[in-house]
């Protein structure tokens, strides 16, 4: 073996020696989430070290369902996340299309306002949004309250504007010459071409809605109207509560997303790398 390939091998071994423990530490909380979700409470709160799953997941799930209607809350979370994702993708891609492909009065101002306010913290709008939705519109504890206000998110607009402006104009001009209406061009030419970007955006938006905590906590605090993270959050810190059950809930919130992540990693990473969320 030459000294160069020996040096390469040495470096490769060092790299793995460093990265493997770090990766294990990083996976540890997720692994423990799964392990805890399968252990009875007297196992979780015992002095021994348990690092392997048991068989108590169903019992824990039943305990969770006894503590709060988690299945109902999951139903709300799924419906809200799906509706929000569809609406948000539609609204932001329409707006992104307008900003990318048309010249119109006020375009500069719209772009400037979106960019100029994008780094403002969400905390700033929390109180007026709450007053408006809960008091003025009297919509607290409804689906509308969960779905509509978060649609303001402008990152999708910028993301789709970018996607549409990278497409060659000839694609659309050809259709225009044939007299195709603008909304048909948008629906049947532009959107299909933007499919990878739409997928990335949809995944990121779905995840954001699925995991959203603060707004649903404030606006839908009644038991029958809670989303799954809020329902689970109410149990944390209670004294007479099944921790195995809480962990079963955490697994139900997390594992589906992990599977989606593994299957659609490319879109996920494209969405995050474009700064499409947060």
């Amino acid at each position: 073996m030459t000294s160069r390939s020996q040096a390469r091998l040495g470096r490769s071994i060092l790299l793995h020696l460093f990265l493997t423990p770090l990766a294990l530490i990083w996976l540890f909380p997720l692994w423990m989430m799964v392990v805890f979700s399968t252990m009875p409470d007297n196992g979780i709160f015992s002095p021994g070290i348990e690092l392997l799953p048991h068989d108590g997941f169903i019992d824990n799930f039943n305990n969770l369902q006894r503590d709060t209607n988690f299945v109902g809350a999951i139903g709300i979370s799924v419906s809200v996340a799906v509706t929000y994702t569809v609406l948000s993708v539609l609204l932001t891609s329409m707006a992104g299309w307008a900003l990318a492909r048309y010249e119109f009065h006020g375009k500069g101002a719209v772009v400037a306002i979106i960019f100029g306010t994008i780094t403002l913290p969400y905390a700033v709008v929390l109180i007026p949004q709450f007053i408006m939705v809960a008091r003025d519109f009297a919509l607290a504890n409804t689906w509308i309250a969960l779905i509509v206000p978060p649609l303001f998110n402008s990152l999708g607009v910028l993301f789709m504007r970018q996607a549409f402006s990278m497409m060659p104009a000839e694609l659309f001009d050809a259709a225009r010459v044939e007299g195709v209406k603008e909304w048909r061009i948008f629906l049947f030419v532009a959107l299909p071409l933007a499919r990878p970007m739409l997928a990335a955006l949809a995944i990121i938006l779905f995840l954001a809605s699925w995991n959203n905590y603060l707004w649903p906590l404030l606006i839908n605090s009644q038991p029958g109207a809670m989303t799954a993270p809020v329902a689970l959050g109410t149990l944390i810190g209670l004294t007479k509560v099944s921790w195995g059950g809480i962990m079963a809930g955490a697994v139900m919130l997390t594992v589906p997303m992990l599977i989606v992540f593994v299957l659609l990693q490319r879109h996920f990473i494209a969405g995050i790398a474009a700064g499409a969320v947060k």
Binding site: L51, M94, A95, Y102, E103, T119, V124, I236, V262, A273
Partner: protein, 286 residues
């Protein structure tokens, strides 16, 4: 191109309505509310009422101090870690790349409530796996929840775990956009890998790193769920109370909207200052 006002606004208006009602108007409204005494009916205009109270409120300084402390320690550590993860994940020597990527990126999809619950359990005093492991290698147990320093450390550990991979994804994308031939020339000139990292990679990554830092600062500045759920409402004794938590307590527990708006606008002021610093750092060299 001729102007196409009618067509353009047909596409733009649905989004714009929501954007104005739920984003632009609340930004203005919360500024106005911060100058009103909101615990009287009807609210009355009292410019110094909330801001005056804010300036003299020890709870505000405590929350501000905690928030800044978390920012100053957690963000640099996490960004450094994220750069390290990204550079190593990008190494051509790495085998089983997919597994490592999964390990570091998986926390990105984990919700705040789920991971807060797990961290709370993992770090509990007598039965937490972390203290058990510390004990098993001969170290003393740490009381993560009753003392301020470990509680702050716990919050920072949790946030770092959740967000390092997220930043690594962005930095990795930045790394992969650096053309190979930059390194080839350096390698021919026998520049060491370490020197290449500091003299080529880092300067070229600067825009991406600044972007990540700003996102992270603005995110961490609003930290709410972790001190709310992990350290139980900012415990021990307000030791981990953040501005986000103060806003929540004032706005939604005490229903003191005016004061909470003043807290919110303090966060906005910090965010604006940080954004200006970013723009200054990213300015085109003349």
């Amino acid at each position: 191109m001729r102007t196409q006002n009618a067509t353009a606004y047909r596409f733009l208006t649905p989004y714009l309505l929501i954007f104005v009602v739920f984003w632009i108007w609340p930004i203005i409204s919360s500024f106005l509310i911060s100058f009103q005494a909101t615990r009287t009916v009807p609210w009355r205009f009292a410019p110094a009422f909330n801001w005056g109270r804010l300036i003299g409120d020890p709870a505000f300084y405590n929350a501000l101090k905690n928030t800044l402390l978390i920012l100053v320690i957690q963000v640099p550590v996490m960004i450094a870690l994220a750069i390290g993860m990204a550079v190593l994940l990008n190494s051509p020597l790495l085998k089983a790349r997919g597994l490592y990527r999964f390990a570091f990126f998986a926390p990105v999809v984990v919700g705040e409530v789920a991971y807060s619950a797990v961290f709370r359990l993992m770090f509990s005093l007598d039965f937490g796996i972390v203290n058990k492991l510390l004990n098993s290698i001969g170290l003393p147990k740490v009381d993560w929840f009753s003392n301020v320093t470990p509680a702050m450390a716990l919050i920072m550990i949790a946030v770092t775990w959740r967000w390092a991979g997220y930043n690594a994804i962005i930095i990795l994308a930045g790394l992969q956009s650096i053309p190979e031939d930059v390194y080839e020339a350096a390698t021919l000139d026998r520049v060491s890998k370490v020197k290449q990292f500091f003299h080529i990679t880092l300067p070229l990554l600067k825009p991406v790193i600044v972007f990540c830092a700003v996102l992270s600062i603005i995110g961490t500045m609003q930290l709410f769920t972790e001190p709310f759920l992990i350290t139980e409402r900012g415990g021990p004794g307000g030791g981990t109370e953040t501005l986000g938590l103060l806003l929540y307590r004032q706005g939604f527990r005490s229903l003191n909207f005016g004061y909470a708006s003043a807290v919110a606008y303090t966060m906005a002021g910090l965010a604006i200052a940080i954004t200006l610093v970013q723009l200054w750092l990213m300015r085109e060299p003349k």
